[in-house]
Symmetry: C2
Subunit: 759 residues, 2 copies
Amino acid sequence: MAKVADKYLLVDPWKIIEAGFHPEKSKVSEALFSLGNEYQGVRGYFDEGYSGDSLVGCYLNGIYEERFLREPSAYKGISSRICFMVNTVNWLYTRIELDGETLDLAKYEISDFRQELDFRTGELHREFIWTTTSGKKLKLVFSRFLSMRVKELAFQRIVFKALNFSGPVRVTQGLDFSILHRSFQENFWECPQKSERAILGVSKSIRHKLFAGFEIQSGAPKEVENIREEKFVGCRFSLDLLQGNDATIDKLNVLATSRDPAQPEAEAWAAGKKLLAEHRSGSYTGFLQRNAEYWAHIWDRFDITIDGDPDTQQGIRFCIFQMQQTYRGIVDGANIGAKGLTGDDYNGNAFWDSETYCLPFFLFSNPQAAKSLIDFRYRTLPQALDRARQLDCEGACFPVATTDGTESCTLWQHASLQFQPTTAVAYAIWHYAKVIGDAEFLYSEGIELLIHICRFLASRGQWSPRRNQFGYYAVMGPDEFQMMVNNSCYTNLMAKRTFEYTLEVLAEMDEARPEKKADLIHNLACTSAELGRWKEMAEKMIIPRDPQTGIYEEHEGFFDLPHIDPDSIPVEDFPLYYNWSYDRIYRNDVIKQPDVLMFMFLYNQSFSLAEKQANYDYYEPRCIHESSLSPSVHSILAAELGRPQEAFEFFRFATRIDLDNYNRNTGEGIHTTSIAAAWMNIVYGFGGMRSDGESLSFHPTIPEHWKAYSFQVLYHGSVIRVDVRQKNAKIRIVEGKPVPVRLLGELREIGPEGLDIPV
Amino acid sequence: MAKVADKYLLVDPWKIIEAGFHPEKSKVSEALFSLGNEYQGVRGYFDEGYSGDSLVGCYLNGIYEERFLREPSAYKGISSRICFMVNTVNWLYTRIELDGETLDLAKYEISDFRQELDFRTGELHREFIWTTTSGKKLKLVFSRFLSMRVKELAFQRIVFKALNFSGPVRVTQGLDFSILHRSFQENFWECPQKSERAILGVSKSIRHKLFAGFEIQSGAPKEVENIREEKFVGCRFSLDLLQGNDATIDKLNVLATSRDPAQPEAEAWAAGKKLLAEHRSGSYTGFLQRNAEYWAHIWDRFDITIDGDPDTQQGIRFCIFQMQQTYRGIVDGANIGAKGLTGDDYNGNAFWDSETYCLPFFLFSNPQAAKSLIDFRYRTLPQALDRARQLDCEGACFPVATTDGTESCTLWQHASLQFQPTTAVAYAIWHYAKVIGDAEFLYSEGIELLIHICRFLASRGQWSPRRNQFGYYAVMGPDEFQMMVNNSCYTNLMAKRTFEYTLEVLAEMDEARPEKKADLIHNLACTSAELGRWKEMAEKMIIPRDPQTGIYEEHEGFFDLPHIDPDSIPVEDFPLYYNWSYDRIYRNDVIKQPDVLMFMFLYNQSFSLAEKQANYDYYEPRCIHESSLSPSVHSILAAELGRPQEAFEFFRFATRIDLDNYNRNTGEGIHTTSIAAAWMNIVYGFGGMRSDGESLSFHPTIPEHWKAYSFQVLYHGSVIRVDVRQKNAKIRIVEGKPVPVRLLGELREIGPEGLDIPV
């Protein structure tokens, strides 16, 4: 991995800090200093406007627009409709005029710039001194945060201090719906209703309603000029500054949406007004305090400490902080976009990463959020049933990329060939049931989803008559550098497991929920013949593997492919996606990301250490990690194979992928799922936790240069704390009842006093 | 093959005849009644305008426009520019008004409609009686032809006969550049220069210049109103008709273009005016007589007679007629579009069909045209070199679809994976050199092309390290239902043959042209190491084949694919391209067209009869013939395997594909290359001619229900005539010196007295 860090932030255990203005990093900073509370998110763009490189991104989770390809494919089953997360209303809109100049960090002299984002409050704080052409010096301090308690509330504070003059400064503040979408260069909002302090946005095509209202709570003079434009409401006023004194303006904002396109405009308007009225007097400091309490609880329960590596300490806390900002299960039917709420790259769509990379974080910290993530798939089951029909199949096929449950990927070579999103839903149900033990869910929504998924898998798979074996033809596995292959080992193995698990759950239900099962079988018209077919498909599934070496063949023919040593590829050829002729990517044994190693991670305990070693040693040197998801899985397996330094190298990349802008694209938004994977690298990687067996197990290791690290996981209502030092580890319960876990191969009951084990 | 004939034309040995108007077939008739002389072509649309379904197509060979995809792919090596044949000037433009009504066959009462196209003159003749609302009956006879002698000349004649009245009829005639393009609904012409009887069209983007001029030679009155519009020049006049008398208008048209976009407008205008002046007095009947002479010569030399099957007799003559209309080697740098000059489907682009399906017809009737066809590739070598670079390769890669030599196919799955166009150029050189023996060409342009093609093949192919064998990965062979496969048997075998042949020619040149070879090696910087690599690649080429059965595996893994019996596919699923989910097409052992059987046709004598039988019996039942090129190759092999009735069934389809509209898309233009293949079905199929051995050979067979058939081929300057009856065949020279041919395995000298052989 020829990835090189691009550092410019200060290292701090609880903050990210930009000291001195870095205009060449403006969009990277915007992404890193993003705020979110799952319901809404806002990039760290400048309140006062900025004519330099910037993406004014203010997003509401699940508020999207659609676009149809102008040259759709003539072939069947290929989506021509793209859903994309749309930037909404800029509630931070501020303009500041002094001596005829309008503040703009790209244009005027700036000094003493510093901005900080504090993980303990979620407050973003930015200050600098502006010197006008005439020599006046004005110090400005901008602060903002999103409430973690009342999801619709967003706060902004501006402090003005005239350093060498007294006199007026002119301020405009408001709510701006007129932002152009970055890539489409189009505005997607109509604003049918406005008042002095509120505006209703209706998205052009989907007809989402978004109420935005504000209240300047303090600091503004009585004399205020109201402004109302087509897509803007706000006010303009003069502040008379007195040299050396602070003048503070606090502005409260409400962004309210039901996320239901059918909601009438009048209802949306009334609901927003009501919310604004309720919280009109909610103070900046009061709500900030409640945020601090919220975050204190989070850190208390789920902090990861790393002693002896400040960079990584900062990195992992940034990851946990971002995960909490992105998703916490409070918005029904939400999912996790590729960039969370920090940018609209990948159109803000959600991928299979939600189930495979993000879900574990929530399984062990916030079961409600974990369930909500799976619930997204249950809610969008009708779309998945429809998608399967588009592909001439039965059952449910879950989309490669989605916002509303429909397929938003218009490339057939992905959307018609990749089924890891579908098997990932089955895996997620299995993992959720195993860790959380939620029988109620499993025996209702869970099994219903599983049956529809099996139906898809049964109809998409085919029998090879010469071998009398079942498999998948013309597919693409998770490794996107092997397109349209036959019998992808990953695809086949995941399908086999899905059939087996579904049949297991149905068998369990004979005992556990016989009536429920009878209803289900009747409602879904399942026959024993159908179940018999699934059993046979699972039994006769082709799993390509070399029995001599124990190496699984990524797909049939992979072993015979022409070889390229990734180290021999000139660095300027990366990313291969854009520098190699498209077909050239697909005809070597170079892989983009783990595929065989991926299922060895997902079903870790089904494979022997020797198998993992043989497969790691075969596939790792062939992998170029042209996916941000790739290094973390390698890190976990390297740790298991007793290669802590190799594990650390992969982990460092995952943990600071955005802080150090390793992929040089953080400006478009942070890599949410890589961030989730960084958490897995501590817990599953160094911590050696495994959650795919009969019981939870731990097998901690530690990189050489760390003194110690610790993490906590919520498991069956108890919080397990793991403290690891160079020689030994302690595992104990810090909250809740004792729980059994497997340590060094033995099942042990862990209580508050804990157990010490050697590392 | 569930193809069903849709007959509506009368059967006649020398004509196609539509008796009675068939408005529901209007576009099919337009295509079938098309005229062409290679340089220009015109569909059989109605001179007088028609508000029903119609495609006003008037094309000039090589006059095209370009269009860029609005949503081009972000990946490398994928063309986003489409070249397409553009409809030019409607030189037949006529409007006829009587009693305030404008003649339109879609609107008014019509009787006694009949149109005929005579293969002996190339004249299209159409007549009918128009009854106006007021009851006036006007008989109209429209005739037209394109001169085969002076390629720019196009003639129109209209005869008016008032049947039950005397009085004026108002006529408008002119040249109309304002036609919209069928699929883009856009007009692509500017008309910067006009005079009373001439207009210059300049195509919008490519800047082709097309001069169009006309002269009403007889029949028009003195009083004429000239019309000049933005894209139209013409005139309007009244004809005073006398009941029972004929009034005839003859209009001569000149369509002149240099096909060079760089030609200055003034020069194009002057050249066109000069041509018009030269031919102003050339009469309709005079030029028609010269056409009759031209066609008499063609039929005398290359007619195919079939005794006992009038349908097929008509069909095969239609095929020969259309081939002559489409291509005859008079326009430098022209190629053969998918629909010839009878429609703009497939954007009028040329495909590998030119070399594999059309070339043989010209090799054995018009060597100059054959050379011209290969010359198109030599002229576009710079574009092919550029295309290879786009694909990260060396040498020359010839386009899948092209008008100007650049790749006009924007689907990467074809343009980046299919190399049969490139190996077809090598095959064409080999075939041309073998049949024509043109050493001058072979040792200059021929070998230069071959070397560049080998360089492409060497750089696109790869070594499989595990096997130490060479092959092609991520390719699509001719069978377009197996996409992105490894080691396509066809691709590998054709590449192997190309390497071998190129090395052979270079070896020959040591003796034949040592100085020329030295220059060539020097100019192209060929090293012996490079030639050595080609030798090794050819030797170590992977050719998948089951040694037990002798069946070649279409590509690695084909034998293990899921099986579908084409007969089990519901008829409403066809064409699968549009009725099956795109991916579903590619994951069965169903094939679209011959692939293994294709190379068994191309290198026929390299395979034993037993091999051909085994492969035919394996692949034929798996083929659904969703390409119009497919049945003909099956017909030839079936004939060879001694299955004349099966051969006839496939042949019938190829021969009357358009007359009986088997694919229901003749309206978009005729299937030029299927038509060429029909000729091959007689000569190679029933005639059993083989041209891939050391000498020409024949092995005639005959379908049961034919009394006799005959064909003639030009070979080494002599015309060989083959007459086949049920029991015996006679082969003799009807023009030129005796030539040696192989008959029943023996090399025999054939003279004018000929030889009789049993059938």
